[in-house]
Symmetry: C2
Subunit: 288 residues, 2 copies
C-alpha cells in the first residue's frame, strides 16, 4: 500500500488496528530497500525530518529527544558506574548521541544490522547521526545476536533500541535474547529495551516482561510521552541482575547546569522516577 | 470538509497543523448541529463509541477514563475536604461519573451549556452518562459564566471540563474566567481545567497559566496519557487559593479496595504526584 496519499504519510499497521497517525509531507528525501527493510526519510511540514522503517515512524525531529533521552538515561543513571555501554540497533545514531553525553561513560559499542540506515541518517538526519562523531564509540555493522555470543561479561549497560516486534526486530523481544543480554552484562548490569505501548500492546509487554524475568531478578516498566509513536507514548523494559538496586532511583543526577549544557530536553531525575509510576490498568496486568 | 472518508474519521485542525489522528468508523450513530456546535457520535472499529464536537474527538470508550479520572481526582484528592463541587462543561457526563465516586463529596453541581450533548450522551454513551444518575448531582443547562456570577464563595473544587480554546470554550481560558472561578470558590478551594498539549500548545498553556496566576497564588500543571487526544496526551491546569497546600500531594488516598470497587483504571496516589513531573522543555517554559 502506498503510505503517502494526497501529501500525507499515514502509519497504518496491524499492530494498532483501527487507528492511524498521519504527518503532512513536504518532501520525500530518501527511499530505499535494504536487505532488511524499507527505509524512507521525509521532511514533514511541521514535525521536521522523519525516519520511517517498514512503514512505521521511528522518529521525527520534533519529538525524538523524549525517546532517545529516556531509553538512554534511565539505565545509565540508574547504574552507579556505567563505564562501558552497548547499544543494539539504534541505527539513526540518536541513542549514541545521548550515551556520549553521560560523564561516567568511558567507551561504548554499537551494533546495528542495517548499514543503509546509518548511511541515510548521516546524510539526512544529522541531528541524530551526530552521535556517530563520538570518540568513545565503536560502531559495528553486524547482527546483535551474533555479536553478543562472542562478548560475555563485558558491559555495564545494554540498550536495545529496536523497531517493533515484527520484521528484523522480532527476535529482540524473546527469552533467548534476554539470555544473551544477561551473559553479555557484567555483574550488576542493567538493560533497557524499547517496550511498546500500554494502550495497544499490553499483552505483548506482559510476555516480554515474563521472558525477561526468566533471566533477570528485577524487571520494571517505564513510559514517556512521544506524540509520533502509536498512542502518543512508548514504554521501556528495564531490568537488572542486582537484586538490591532500585531502578526507579537514579544513582547519578545531572545538575541544572549539565542539563542545560548537554541539551537534555526531556530527562531529569524527577522524571526518571515518575516514568515508572503506572496507571492501575497497567499495574494490574504487569505486576499482579 | 467531510471528516469521514473511506471509512476513516480524521481529526484535522489548525490547532495541530501537519499532523492528524484517525479512527476507523464502524457506524455513525448520531449527527446533529446544536446552537453551539456540531455533534457526532460514532462507533469505531477498535476504540469503542466516540464523541466528536466541532470535528474534534472529545472521548473514545477505550481511553476516556484517563482524562475523566485525572481531571477529577487530582483536584478532589488534593483538597482535604471536597464536600461541594462544581463541574463546568463535561456534557458527556464522564466527570460527573468520577466526582460521584469520591467518598467526601456531599453534593455537586454541573453547568453545561449544550443540552444536546447531554441528550446524545444519555442515548449513545451510557458508560459516560451514568454520571447523571448520581443523587448527589444537580444539573443545570446554562452558561457557566452566568451561573458563577450568581454563585460566590460556594464550592470547594471547580472542574472545567471544556473543549479546546476555540468555539464555545474559548472564554474558559481567559483571565476573566479565572476571576469568576476564584470568586465562586470557598477559601482554600482548588480548580482544575483542561489544559491542552505541551507538544502543540505550549505557548497557549503558558498564557493560560499566566492568566490563572493573576488570581491564584499557586498554579501547577499536570499531564496524563490519552492516546486519542492530540499528541496522545493532555494537560491539566490546577490552582489553589491556599498558599500552604501542595497540590502535588494527595490529602485523600484511595485504598486498593476502593480502587477496585470504584473501578479506578488510571488514578492512584502515586500517579497523582507523578503527573506533575514535567520534562525539561516544558518546565523551562512554564516555570522559569
Amino acid at each position: 500500500m502506498d503510505q503517502i496519499r494526497n501529501g500525507w504519510f499515514s502509519e497504518i499497521s496491524n499492530l494498532w488496528p483501527g487507528q492511524c497517525f498521519s504527518l503532512k509531507v513536504k518532501e520525500v528525501l530518501y527511499k530505499d530497500k535494504s536487505d532488511f527493510q524499507d527505509i524512507m526519510v521525509f521532511e514533514s511540514t511541521n514535525n521536521g525530518t522523519t525516519l520511517v522503517l517498514d512503514g512505521i515512524i521511528q522518529c521525527t525531529q520534533k519529538d525524538e529527544f523524549s525517546y532517545q533521552e529516556m531509553i538512554t538515561f534511565i539505565p545509565l543513571c540508574a547504574h552507579p558506574k556505567p563505564e562501558k555501554v552497548l547499544i543494539v540497533g539504534g541505527g539513526d545514531g540518536g541513542v549514541a548521541r545521548e550515551v556520549h553525553k553521560h560523564p561516567l561513560v568511558k567507551k561504548f559499542v554499537q551494533v546495528e544490522i542495517d548499514e543503509k540506515v546509518v548511511t541515510a541518517s548521516k546524510k539526512y538526519l544529522p541531528f541524530l547521526a551526530k552521535g556517530y562523531n563520538s570518540p568513545k564509540l565503536t560502531l559495528n555493522i553486524c547482527d546483535g545476536f551474533e555479536f553478543m555470543k562472542n562478548h560475555k561479561n563485558e558491559f555495564d549497560v545494554i540498550i536495545t533500541d529496536s523497531s517493533d516486534p515484527i520484521g528484523p526486530a522480532a527476535n529482540l523481544f524473546t527469552e533467548s535474547y534476554f539470555r544473551l543480554l544477561k551473559d553479555a552484562l557484567k555483574p550488576n548490569g542493567i538493560i533497557c529495551s524499547q517496550g511498546g505501548s500500554v494502550w495497544s500492546d499490553l499483552n505483548q509487554i506482559k510476555q516480554t516482561i515474563n521472558s525477561c524475568k526468566k533471566h533477570f531478578s528485577t524487571v520494571r516498566f517505564a513510559t514517556s510521552s512521544v506524540p509520533s509513536y502509536p498512542d502518543g507514548h512508548i514504554g521501556y523494559v528495564v531490568a537488572t541482575l542486582d537484586e538490591n538496586l532500585d531502578l526507579t532511583k537514579p544513582s547519578f543526577k545531572f545538575s541544572e547546569k549539565q542539563i542545560e549544557e548537554l541539551e537534555l530536553k526531556y530527562y531529569n531525575d524527577e522524571i526518571h522516577a515518575a516514568a515508572f509510576v503506572l496507571p492501575n490498568f497497567v499495574k494490574n496486568v504487569l505486576y499482579k
